[in-house]
Point group: C2
Chain length 103, copies 2
Amino acid sequence: MTNDASQAMALLKQYRESIDRLDAILIYTLAERFKQTQEVGRLKATHGLLPCDPEREAWQIERLAQLAISADMDPEFARRFIRFVIDEVIKNHNCQRKTQIEN
Amino acid sequence: MTNDASQAMALLKQYRESIDRLDAILIYTLAERFKQTQEVGRLKATHGLLPCDPEREAWQIERLAQLAISADMDPEFARRFIRFVIDEVIKNHNCQRKTQIEN
């Protein structure tokens, strides 16, 4: 391996270690977020509230798009990301309501 | 509003404030992750390396699934989440290579 190539591999290793640390933050933060949304789901099911709240969702999506811009990230990706997460939450809320009705 | 309902609304507000704070962490962490992967993309493009690395991807996906389990989160969601992020990164890497070839 040339000196240039081995320097590149060392740099690649450094970037990847950062990425792996950031991924751990992402997973633990998502896990904490799901714990909170589980509580929201339980609360909504108990009080007969709908699992979806389009007004809040629209507000969340636009807020995160703005945060993305301030962090120099593509706001379109932020919108798709939060949609991806919200869809998972809604799926889980539907399950919770179904379980409550069945039990 | 009954006392019970107003207590529920106060609790809902609390959960939502937590969720909004966690979302800010997620967006800023994703932004930082993309900065790192941009550097990886640049490095790979400079050294003629392929944008995809299936072996590393498989390792990342399984690592995050295990982290999800340890955080009491659905490992399947973690797998879909990291796939979603990696696909975005690959798309961007392809763009970077295309831009380099074009310029």
